[in-house]
């Protein structure tokens, strides 16, 4: 019997015992072909999916390596059938390749005639194929490159895209590494992407995905289209690009609801591209406006469905996807794989945190008991109202105040989902509120003040969930959320994970009403945090100690002034 750190389960999940001496080595061996699903304290769970295996295959790993890693590190004998299955699945990738033929243009070739026969006969695939050139080759309509890859993946024979990319219109872009340096993992991510041509880089929030994008642009040295989730995030990209590269303000255009600039580097929001008028997408011209050499997709896991359709037509452009997680709540991971590309790089949160690039976080759930009146209101409420009533209970207010008082010197965010609750909190805490209707100008002004430390506390709605940069937020207090969405939890946690100047610990509080739906949803979200390896503590509001008291925060700054 072998005493390895890995246990292989029948459902192809892999359990990795973290405290085992071989755990690190084993993680390195299985990371290429298994997706990290959960990383709680003792045992991490990885899942071997066909997509993960194909990702590994696309990255140049072969079945033998995979089987060897499983057998070598497994504590118990691995069923032969599972190994055979893994090898078979991997073997499916690359039987078909898309390539450029000097005479016929884009062609689908196969090393296995039976496979080619199978897909040529498939009803879904056949319409995208043209004339058969010989037994192993068939012409593909160039416009169908993306859809063909989607369809082939669906029938279980993912094609390797070797057809190459157009260079696009050249544009000089260099990184301006004065006073800073690309981190090792960022460098590896860019190299991984560039070698693969197209694909997705997975990095945790706060790990500097923008810089990976910038570095990729410097590698491509061509006109670039950057697709982001919203305007604020777009502006942040712009700021970052100006600071970190040789690009000037004039070279970067913003294509949003407010402005429609097309420049060598253009930043567009998902929203504006997917805006339809009279059933037609109005801004598709953007994609043809320039001979783009690179397209960057920020937050790939949020990529809306229409963009997938558009992306299918852009298969000859290099595509870089950036995301914190490949898991999509709509389950369209396979479209990301076939249209943006395979995963080119990823690193687990905890590893990057251990390297000191993102702040360590302490997660605390504070439980508030509702008063009798609230309990009664809750008990008799309609089911659809219950969560709102529990989440916005007034009993939370004094607790929130007490939490904020624990950290007098920190930059604090109070995050909620219900606008009236936020307004109320803003008034009670004497803090500005940022929500959907706040103008961009106003937002930026407040963010600048917050950054400068002029404002200590901000109350934000879920507009702040994504892509705003609040570098010095060290404390986040979550008062209400969207039905326990895991993604939201990750994004909100990301708000406090950016590295602090002095390496301080970040604090992430969730204030929940006890014995209500609120705590049920909180449990759901927290499971996600625990799975990400964040141990969280549950505290009753009554036991919540202030700074300097027993069980209070570890460090207390001298009060200002």
């Amino acid at each position: 019997m072998n005493d390895g750190p890995l246990i292989v389960q029948s459902d192809k999940t892999l359990l990795l015992e973290v405290d085992h001496p071989l755990a690190r080595e084993c993680r390195a061996a299985i990371a290429p072909f298994a997706e990290l699903e959960r990383s709680p304290e003792h045992v991490h769970t990885y899942r071997v999916t066909p997509l993960a295996l194909w990702n590994a295959r696309a990255a140049g790993h072969d079945a033998e390596q995979v089987v060897d890693a499983l057998v070598r590190y497994s504590r118990y004998p691995v069923p032969h059938a599972l190994l055979v299955d893994v090898a078979d699945t991997m073997d499916r990738f690359g039987r078909l390749t898309l390539a450029n033929n000097p005479v016929h243009g884009l062609v689908l070739t196969s090393t296995d005639r039976a496979v080619l026969e199978e897909v040529v006969r498939s009803k879904k695939v056949a319409p995208m194929l043209g004339a058969r050139i010989d037994a192993d080759t068939v012409v593909v309509h160039p416009s169908e490159r993306g859809r063909l890859k989607q369809a082939l993946l669906k029938v279980g024979w993912p094609a390797e895209d070797l057809a190459g990319y157009v260079d696009g219109q050249a544009h000089p872009i260099f990184l301006d590494q004065a006073g800073w340096q690309l981190r090792d993992y960022q460098q590896e991510a860019v190299e991984g992407f560039w070698a693969g041509g197209s694909g997705v880089v997975v990095l945790p929030c706060g790990a500097g995905k923008t810089l990976v994008g910038a570095a990729a642009m410097a590698e491509a040295k061509a006109t670039t289209l950057i697709l982001v989730t919203n305007t604020v995030s777009g502006r942040q990209w712009k700021r970052e690009l100006i600071a970190r590269t040789t690009l000037t303000e004039d070279e970067i255009g913003e294509y949003s609801g407010e402005r429609k600039e097309i420049r060598p580097v253009t930043i567009a929001t998902y929203q504006v591209i997917t805006t339809r008028r009279k059933g037609e997408y109005r801004h598709l011209d953007l994609f043809d406006a320039q001979d783009w050499g690179l397209i960057v997709y920020d937050e790939v896991h949020l990529l809306p469905a229409p963009i997938f359709r558009l992306t299918a037509d852009l298969q000859s452009r290099r595509r870089l996807g950036l995301t914190a997680t490949l898991v999509r709540e709509d389950g369209r991971e396979d479209d990301v794989f076939s249209l943006i590309g395979p995963k080119r790089y990823d690193a687990p949160w905890k590893d990057i945190e251990a390297q000191g690039y993102i702040a360590p976080a302490e997660c605390i759930e504070v439980r508030v008991a509702l008063d009798d009146e609230e309990r009664m209101t809750y008990a008799v409420a309609e089911p659809e109202e219950r969560y709102r009533i529990a989440a916005t209970a007034h009993s939370k207010l004094p607790v929130i105040r007490r939490v904020l008082e624990r950290h007098p010197e920190e930059q604090k965010l109070v995050i909620g989902a219900y606008l009236d609750q936020l307004e109320e909190l803003g008034t009670a805490l004497d803090a500005p509120v940022i929500q959907g209707s706040t103008t961009n100008r106003e937002r930026e002004k407040l963010f600048d003040a917050f950054r400068a430390g002029e404002i200590k506390t901000l109350v934000v709605s879920k507009v702040a969930n994504f892509s705003i940069d609040l570098p010095e937020a060290a404390v986040a207090v979550q008062v209400s959320g969207t039905f326990g969405s895991r993604q939201e939890e990750a994004q909100r946690l990301g708000r406090v994970l950016r590295p602090k100047a002095d390496g301080r610990q970040a604090h992430f509080y969730t204030v929940v009403s006890r014995d209500t739906l609120d705590s049920e949803y909180a449990a759901h979200r927290q499971r996600f945090l625990a799975e990400q390896g964040y141990a969280y503590t549950i505290v009753d509001a009554d036991d919540l100690a202030g700074p300097g008291e027993v069980n209070g925060p570890d460090w207390v700054d001298e009060p200002a002034d």
Binding site: I7, D11, P77, P79, A81, D515, R527
Partner: protein, 757 residues
């Protein structure tokens, strides 16, 4: 012993040595049970068609080819030397071996001249794949056969050549509409084929021989020499252990599921598709996999029909023992059950001619030949060195050569090999040590081969902050039981991932756990500190638990007339009914409805019983179990091979009988018909008195007759005691079973009397 060649099979058998007879019995054990009384009986047993068929079925293609040569010889009797000229391409040692096999089995007899007994001739329908002679087919062949064949069209010749191959009989194609007829029909008209029935035609032997030219017996049937793939036996064993672990784990889960909710028994037998789907979903396996697991559990005797109405598939009592065993033993039970199971699990889902697909555990899947096919297939692999294996198709080809007469039975072999691989008996065509043990010594051998490869059960879990409990290996049964209450299984395999949820904690509270029990259990079972979140979860759920109260009562009395109920409650005569008020309008009692009804009626009320429709019945406290079969009793229809001692005993028996037969003939015993028992006794007592050996005709308790010569010692109470010299034993004979008796004179002179009893 005479130097003349024996004239009959029996005579020849008499010339065989004890070892040779023993070898015959070993090869044809069916003739040894019950022991034949003498060589004549033995010879007639050997002539039984079933026995001959069975013996032929076990011969390989090369041996059968040698037999074909003898059978095709123009006259009965052929010198062994002639064989060498008949089969020039066959190496001598193959010939010798084949001859040895045939004579050992008495399928051919004779030392200098080989004879084929008639039953053997009848049993081989088409020797060497040739048809009967034209005379026997009542066919008049053209005088100049080669010339007639030369005239044929290529299509016609093709038909003949095909029939001159392995099988001389072919289907007549349906008559085509254009009237010219198919080639086969034209051949029929020319008298080159014989019609044997409405559908089939046969090629006469003469034409077949002509077409075969200088290889009249067909090409030499050499043993296929497949390329043997060799792998590291340790790797094979580890992978087998992986499969074993998986099988044992899955079967455990399956039976736990069936314990919770049994599968219904279909009227046609078997498990319905709905149950199959449910189980597949719960186990997260495909439906065919679920069917396989059901079949495996049944084959191992862990699952059977039971329940109060015998209409449910339930774990058997054997399951309770099984789950306590260690993993290797558990695996051995599964493997042994599978090996000797008379069902073909691979037929589940296969549609029959009527288009109906077979259900798991359906009685239609029984094939009594299955165990012997499994054994013969795995037996081939067992002959290879450890770690060496054959791909399924090569193995099938080899089996086809080994037992060509059973080739039609080999269809399930690939599926059987796949099953063996799932179990861990095989790994990519090579037997694991456990698999070898299974074949050699059954369950014990299997367990021994697998022991040490399977992990030891663990008695702890790792509790994690995300509320999962990870059992880093197979769990001891007790902990597994408890955990199945407290948590839900999320993933299984080498380890088990349990998830504690609100629902699972509630379930535990429901079956009587208290919050502190749970805390204690978790603290004790977990090797890691119990995360705070888990403790909070338990407390949270416990706080909410029990706000609704449920109790059980045997019966109720209800009425819209509350006054009447109060009256009943206040009535002293209804006290025996032990009624109490639960709510306005409802009285309840701990007594059964019948008793309450009686009490109320006797008290002068007019109550009516109520149908319990909608009432929830609690499950019986004991876990439901099917009675189950004793494993290994139903299956194993294959004859147990005779041991050396048993064979020696039979040979001794035959020899003794034979000698007795000889004594009876040689010593001219006078037969006196119609003698009474009294004279038998008289004769016997004379023999005892004078110490003369007697010749006895005797029928034993099993009803088989024998003749023997006995040196009598005493005659007491209707029993004759004596020493049977040839058998070398003291025996007691019941006088009433003695059918005839004669005195044997030592000097060869006639004895006194022969008395049929």
């Amino acid at each position: 012993m005479s130097t003349e060649a024996p004239a009959t099979l029996a005579a020849w058998l008499r010339t065989r040595s004890d070892e040779q007879l023993s070898a015959l019995l070993a090869a044809r054990p069916d003739v040894a049970r019950p022991a034949p009384s003498d060589v004549v009986a033995l010879a007639s047993r050997l002539a039984v068609p079933v026995s001959v068929d069975r013996a032929l079925d076990e011969l390989d293609a090369a041996t059968l080819q040698v037999l074909d040569v003898v059978l095709l010889a123009p006259t009965d009797g052929m010198a062994p030397d002639e064989l060498i000229t008949a089969l020039p391409q066959v190496p001598d040692e193959v010939l010798t071996e084949a001859l040895d096999a045939l004579t050992t089995r008495a399928l051919l007899w004779g030392d200098d001249v080989l004879h084929a007994p008639d039953p053997v001739r009848r049993a081989v329908r088409h020797p060497a794949g040739l048809g009967r002679r034209a005379v026997d087919l009542r066919l008049q062949l053209p005088a100049d056969l080669p010339a007639a064949l030369a005239e044929l069209t290529p299509e016609e010749r093709q038909v003949l050549e095909r029939l001159a191959g392995e099988r001389p009989v072919g289907h007549l194609p349906d008559a085509p509409g254009n009237g010219t007829g198919s080639p086969a029909r034209r051949l029929l008209q020319r008298g080159l084929l014989a019609r044997i029935d409405a559908l089939n035609v046969e090629l006469p032997r003469e034409i077949g021989l002509l077409l075969r030219g200088d290889l009249p017996y067909g090409p030499p049937r050499r043993r296929p020499e497949p390329a043997v793939g060799v792998r590291d036996p340790q790797v094979v064993d580890r992978q087998a252990a992986g499969a074993a672990l998986e099988s044992v784990g899955r079967i455990g889960e399956l039976l736990a599921l069936l314990e919770e909710e049994p599968a219904g028994l279909l009227r046609s037998g078997g498990v319905g598709v709905r149950d199959q789907k449910r189980l597949a979903k719960a186990l997260k396996v495909s439906e065919p996999d679920a069917a396989w697991l059901l079949e495996l559990a049944f084959a191992a005797g862990l699952l059977d029909v039971g329940g109060p109405h015998r209409d449910e598939w339930l774990p058997t009592r054997a399951y309770d023992i099984w789950r306590e065993q260690d993993l290797a033993d558990r695996w051995a039970v599964l493997a042994a059950g599978w090996l000797d199971g008379v069902r073909l699990p691979s037929l589940v889902g296969v549609r029959d001619v009527a288009g109906k697909s077979a259900n798991p555990l359906s009685p239609d899947l029984v094939r009594h030949t299955a165990p012997s096919i499994r054994r013969s297939a795995l037996g081939v692999l067992a002959e290879l060195p450890a770690g060496a294996g054959l791909p399924a198709e090569e193995l099938t080809a080899l089996l086809r050569w080994r037992t060509p007469r059973r080739a039609d039975r080999l269809a399930p072999v690939p599926a059987m090999l796949a099953e063996a691989a799932r179990l861990g008996v095989l790994v990519s065509g090579a037997l694991s040590t456990g698999g070898r043990g299974l074949l050699a010594t059954g369950e014990d051998g299997a367990a021994d081969g697998m022991r040490g490869l399977l992990p030891e059960p663990v008695d702890h879990v790792l509790a994690q902050p995300d509320l999962s409990l990870i059992a880093p290996g197979p769990l001891v049964a007790e902990l597994a039981d408890t955990l199945s209450v407290v948590a839900d299984v999320e993933s299984s395999g080498g380890a088990t991932v349990f998830r504690v949820s609100e629902a699972s904690v509630r379930r535990a509270l429901d079956v009587g756990w208290s919050a502190s029990d749970l805390h204690d259990f978790l603290a004790k079972a977990s090797r890691t500190p119990v995360p705070q979140a888990l403790d909070y979860l338990v407390d949270d759920v416990a706080r909410q638990h029990g706000r609704l109260r449920v109790g059980s009562i045997e019966s109720y009395v209800r009425s819209d007339d509350h006054g009447l109920l109060s009256q009943v409650l206040g009535d002293r005569r209804t006290a025996p009914a032990e009624l109490r008020r639960l709510a306005p309008g409802v009285l309840v009692s701990g007594l059964g409805a019948d008793e309450v009804l009686t009490v109320l009626r006797e008290a002068g009320y007019a109550p009516a019983g109520e149908n319990p429709g909608g009432a929830v019945l609690t499950r019986p406290p004991a876990r439901p179990r099917a009675a189950g079969r004793r494993t290994g009793t139903e299956h194993a229809p294959t004859a147990r091979p005779l041991t050396g001692d048993e064979r020696a005993a039979v040979v001794r028996e035959v020899r003794a009988g034979d000698a007795a037969l000889a004594a009876r003939r040689g010593e001219a015993v006078r037969q006196v018909p119609g003698v009474t028992t009294a004279s038998t006794l008289e004769l016997l007592s004379k023999a005892v008195r004078e110490g003369i050996p007697v010749w006895l005709g005797y029928v034993d308790a099993q009803g088989s007759g024998s003749q023997r010569v006995v040196q009598p010692v005493s005659l007491v109470g209707g029993f004759l005691q004596g020493y049977d010299e040839r058998r070398g034993e003291n025996r007691t004979f019941a006088v009433h079973r003695i059918t005839s008796v004669a005195l044997v004179e030592e000097d060869g002179a006639p004895g006194s009397g022969m008395l049929p009893g």
